[in-house]
Subunit: 486 residues, 2 copies
Amino acid sequence: MAMNTPLIQKRLKEIVGSENVLDTPEARIAFSYDATAGLSSMPLAAIRPSSAEQISAIVSLANEERFPLVARGSGTGLSGGALPLNNAVVVLMNHWNHILEIDEENLTVTVEPGVITGQLHQTVEKRGLLYPPDPGSSTICTLGGNVAENAGGLRGLKYGVTKNYVLGMQVVLPTGEILNTGGKMVKDVAGYNLKDILVGSEGTLGILTRIILRLIPKPETSRTLLAFFPTMNDAAKTVSAIIAAKITPAMLEFLDNTTIRCVEDYAHLGLPIDAAAMLLVEVDGRNAIIEEDALLVTDICNKNNATSVKMAATEQESIKLKAARRSAFTSLARVKPTTIMEDVGVPRSRLPELVARINEIARKHDVMIGNFGHAGDGNLHPNYLTDSRNKEEYARAEKTVFEVEETAINLGGTITGEHGIGLYKKPLLEKMVGSPAIQMMRTLKTMMDPNNIMNPGKIFELKPRCEGRLPQEREQIKKFEDVAWI
Amino acid sequence: MAMNTPLIQKRLKEIVGSENVLDTPEARIAFSYDATAGLSSMPLAAIRPSSAEQISAIVSLANEERFPLVARGSGTGLSGGALPLNNAVVVLMNHWNHILEIDEENLTVTVEPGVITGQLHQTVEKRGLLYPPDPGSSTICTLGGNVAENAGGLRGLKYGVTKNYVLGMQVVLPTGEILNTGGKMVKDVAGYNLKDILVGSEGTLGILTRIILRLIPKPETSRTLLAFFPTMNDAAKTVSAIIAAKITPAMLEFLDNTTIRCVEDYAHLGLPIDAAAMLLVEVDGRNAIIEEDALLVTDICNKNNATSVKMAATEQESIKLKAARRSAFTSLARVKPTTIMEDVGVPRSRLPELVARINEIARKHDVMIGNFGHAGDGNLHPNYLTDSRNKEEYARAEKTVFEVEETAINLGGTITGEHGIGLYKKPLLEKMVGSPAIQMMRTLKTMMDPNNIMNPGKIFELKPRCEGRLPQEREQIKKFEDVAWI
């Protein structure tokens, strides 16, 4: 479809002001990619709106002139969700960074979508409150992006994910209408649950302009433990035994041997590089019980053949122990030019089987892989260390990705626990969710966004042309000719 | 629309067997009402299917012959959601009462939708696990009904509501397709969140055939406290002070003076009948902290002018203290022939204002009212004690209902915290959620159920003819001619 580019540019400038339309080649390149390996696509322009009404006017214009819009926070997404396909206009939201209200009586906070997640953490923790969702990118990602992706993080096992904390929102719908849904009530069953359709819809059903989040009292204290195991199986048994002991740690994180080695090589933390697996456990709660919990976890680790268990005695030590997990991705990413970070999930009990199968598949395709993730949630991040400039090597990595995703599905799991489908995981979505589900999703999208202007080409194709293809054919998707804007 | 009744009856018998089609007048009367005051409507028949495939065949038949279907568990709903309008066929699900699997490793349970909620509680608690949602009707209501209504209950403040525990489901869609969505994974962001659209959709988007629920470790112990206050304001301050002290009780329930008197009159528990308000507080958790929490709550009650605070020393005593709350509805219901149980919610801090306004409105219309509810959630159940046979009196009660709902909306709240919209609360839904939201709901329904066969006439009208009307006009809705099956 031909777009009337000069007209669109002119009208965008009328709506947001010339200074807020960024259309130089440099600006366009800056917004042509997110944190996903190997994907990029140039936008028509990026714009900085300053009100919901402006966004509504932009959406109306997009419907009239039939051009796509992609909302963007910090661009930390790992599934290509913020990529501007088909000359989309990028709607920048990261300057919407105000915490509008902290309501301590009702334990809610109202924010603009561009607030950095970590900034919210710090602000509410000063008042003795906690916003539990804690994605790995929390120092840089935005709350709007977290809601769009239904972000998880390190505290998922005990505290759940983003959707468990979204009480209300204001959102500009694909028709340009401004919807206010939910509020400060903790319970509300008036009509269909529109809020939870929008959470995790990856920017395809609306652009967030305000969010009301639930807070909880900050736990009195916490203890951090780091344990190393001679086999993956010992680590897995430890996870099961902790759950069986009725302890729900705030964090229960896993690193495999490759990741341990890479972290040690990068961060020099003194980790035992021969260990097959590391578990990071953090228990939190009341002063009176935390020591008991930490000792019980230590005991369980030791009974399951841990070669060493360290408990942090101070906050500084705790940060140091967590550094091993926090620097996992960075450490792996420097080993090879390209890191594909995966995000499969299985029922918790099947995690050891998943890890074993992943290692087999990686060996078969001769791909270097480092596994880490949220052991308590059964959510694993295999990282494929490769080089996108070497076509043969990269093709092997992508085959591995595809087979690992299939394995997760066959184990009763998911191809994405927290990163979303975006562009990257479309090929296997239908295989995972089945035909009635994907048809429902398509119809939902068409119903809410009849002109398909809101982040088109993400999650699924409206016409089922690219679904279920082999990884070799992902190349085509990446060229984007195939992701026609219908 | 004329239905070919003999043909429908014949084909239903072919699908489920003659013995499973109940179409005598006695049977039809038995399924013509639920627990909602003043509403009834005769079904064409009630049927007992025995498999998802049979339900799928019934749904296909309903689409061919254009007759409505209403799934029904125990019929304990309080918004008329299970009423078979327009000669609907009632699909009985309460014999689907098997707990299929308890997975202790993954902390999940898979159930058929007809399992009684209280039965699940007992079964999993024997294994040291907890299914937290705890609706007032838990000894009789079904899990399928709980999911359809997104039921809340007494433990909502600390543990959330039904949707927080639904991991997966099998559901027969209005097209007859069988959808499996979700699974045992605790985190899954693959595509739109279809599961949470279905939870709370009040039987209008599908018939549940299997549910996977999340369990948590059962708290080690609990303490129950009962406190009485000379003013509503003292009770409200106590609630705020408990939250401010970073204690999140499992239960934080409220009874007003009228309810206290009715309970005492009925149950003879020795309650102080002059108290303006009662709070039932239950703290649960680890042995090491529970005594401290209970003493802190006692202290907070005393500091806020409690006239008496009792703590249960034994499990038996705890059950006795909770009896005051558990028998609230029964006690009120025997005062007058008709009890309209309301279900408004506001942000927690606005609860005292809501109670004050409710009492004013009740005085204005000379209606007897007893308030109880979930103080921690801001979710209140005003009970209007009236007589539906006395038209003038009943009209005053309904005016009161309408004005109380409007008040909740004006206080930033909801017209239903846990009972659903059903038939009874349709008139004010649009006023509460706004026009873009109700239009989205209508479109969603039309898209998923193009022939409008699944529990039609509930939540909203497809054509906006009955919305926003005055209470006097509710009569019309109740005659059902107006709720045309479009």
